[in-house]
Symmetry: C2
Subunit: 307 residues, 2 copies
């Protein structure tokens, strides 16, 4: 193959009680990128649409990840890279992960699939290390594997794919504000109460059970975060009002995507997801802050070839 | 029916990372009790074997639970109660729960099953409240439902039954020491580190996944308790040496049953369970403390009629 075109999904990490462990890929939101073989061995970013990102190949996650793979596989391949971002970085929806995962997936397809998925995850984590300083696994794993994933352990990394219930969808609101990573990190306590920890893991157990049982009401009851949300919601104007309005309208649960500012509301069916995006957009007007909204089904699809 | 004979299993609560949430019933260890209808309305404990327990009907869990049920259903039934304890109270193996759950189950069978299982759980919890002051749900739910259970929430109570992988067994050692409930409670910190909490819920997610997948190696990797065990193992002489010997001999995992002093080692197959009980008994000689050992398969059976 001389050319590949790839879709790489947006992802929600820190799904409720699954802080730092549970992530999920979105179907209907993500990035596209096109890789075209060059006759020389250069990596060239020929176009970036949809976000203001570095074109310097040493500073863009896409080229960084591709470069690492090409170096390790030791081919002399050069690649032209076209990037079309479907959503902005700094959203809490895994922008850098979509780029890193998509890049690994795409170059692997271009080269005839020499690498396995766990290797692609490892390279995509290097992209996360480039932009955030730490090789975080949850967004990139969800993007590459699709559906729900659970990071059971680091060192060694173990990522488990979990089932996706039929008819699950999500409504997302992305307030157009910036949350400083340091602020999101520093607002979390180092110590938490034993009782809140027990509540959290009991709910995570229930959530995983619900995914296997395809039990959306149980999934909804388990979508509770008593450890992180009480702190981080203070960084996101209008959180409580949005939560109230979506829960009043039959959302399964509501929470912060990644470290925010995007917020998610799971629900049953795409039609409900669209309704909830409208409700959230309307509700958010009172904050005076702009927001983008997205609706998506949840499926088992991750990075994939498109035409 | 005028007479029922019932088996009620021993149970392990606080299974590793599932502290205060995950419990499991044993197949091959438990109590037997026989209820025989009387012509009057009295509750009489006619025999107790296997443990030194109150014969006063107001102080024995079995008669307490039966009495509450008969009062609420408003029959004038009286019952003779024979109790045969298969293991001693204060073991960490749910002795009072076996009695309370078995009592509720047995009287329900005697009366033609007017009550549903969730109601039996509620009555059995009252037995726990009698002996420990709190209506703990995990041991009694595991005893009544069988297999693995997860208490997702209290208020309202939600108990989830989880699958049992084929060929799962457990070896148990019960050091003949007494652990004061207050000591076991006070040794736990009120606050834990965020990082240990994350490790704990990530492992619980992995454990629940493993049960659905029937994946014993994943089950084993997830059987880690980084929150409670480091503290409570100090109350149980020989803990570290026992853990080392069973893990060297292919146990899936090792931990404290309930609040101890009994310890469990999950493994594959009854033959391995018996081998591990022998190894643990041998290893424990060096402590100078007597210990009983038990081997059991894990199945989906809970309280049941026997002949
Ligand atoms: N291809 C790329 N896609 C996205 N971000 C990139 C890319 N290359 C470099 N970056 C840089 O990475 C940073 C974005 O990372 P950041 O972690 O803030 O966003 P994010 O991935 O959307 O975060 P989150 O984890 O909250 O979803 C920006 O500084 C951006 O310039
Ligand atoms: N039928 C009964 N079976 C067991 N214990 C009983 C019964 N009736 C009353 N008791 C009293 O309950 C207490 C036993 O409860 P305890 O919680 O210490 O043991 P346990 O149920 O084995 O505990 P664990 O939760 O650690 O497994 C003892 O004081 C005992 O006398």
């Amino acid at each position: 193959m001389d050319k590949v075109k790839v879709f790489s999904p947006a992802t929600i990490a820190n799904v409720s009680c699954g802080f730092d462990t549970l992530g999920v890929a979105l179907d209907d939101l993500g990035d596209e990128m096109t890789l075209t073989k060059r006759t020389d061995n250069q990596l060239v970013i020929t176009s970036i649409q949809g976000a203001d990102l570095p074109t310097d190949p040493d500073r863009n996650v896409v080229s960084w990840v591709i470069g690492k793979i090409l170096k390790d596989i030791n081919t002399g391949t050069g690649v032209d890279i076209e990037i079309k971002k479907g959503f902005k970085p700094g959203s809490g929806l895994g922008s850098s992960a979509a780029s890193g995962a998509g890049a690994a997936f795409a170059v692997n397809e271009l080269l005839g699939r020499p690498l396995k998925t766990n290797q692609l995850i490892a390279y995509a984590r290097e992209g996360e290390r480039l932009v955030s300083g730490a090789p975080i696994a949850d967004n990139v794993s969800a993007a590459l594997l699709g559906g729900f994933i659970l990071v059971r352990s680091y060192e060694p990394l173990e990522v488990i794919s979990l089932p996706v219930p039929d008819n699950l969808a999500v409504a997302v609101i992305h307030p157009q504000i910036e949350i400083q990573t340091a602020a999101a990190r520093d607002i979390l306590p180092d110590q938490i109460s034993m009782s809140s920890a027990i509540t959290q893991w009991a709910n995570l157990g229930g959530l995983v059970s619900a995914l296997y049982e395809g039990d959306l009401p149980l999934f909804g009851r388990s979508l509770r975060d008593v450890v992180v949300e009480p702190h981080r919601k203070k960084l996101i104007p209008g959180f409580d009002q949005l939560k109230e309005v979506v829960m009043d309208h039959h959302a399964l649960g509501f929470g912060i995507s990644g470290s925010g500012p995007s917020l998610f509301a799971f629900c049953e069916g795409m039609s409900k997801a669209r309704e909830l995006t409208q409700l959230m957009q309307q509700e958010y007007v009172h904050t005076g802050i702009e927001a983008k909204v997205y609706a998506s089904v949840i499926s088992k699809l991750g990075c994939r070839l498109i035409d």
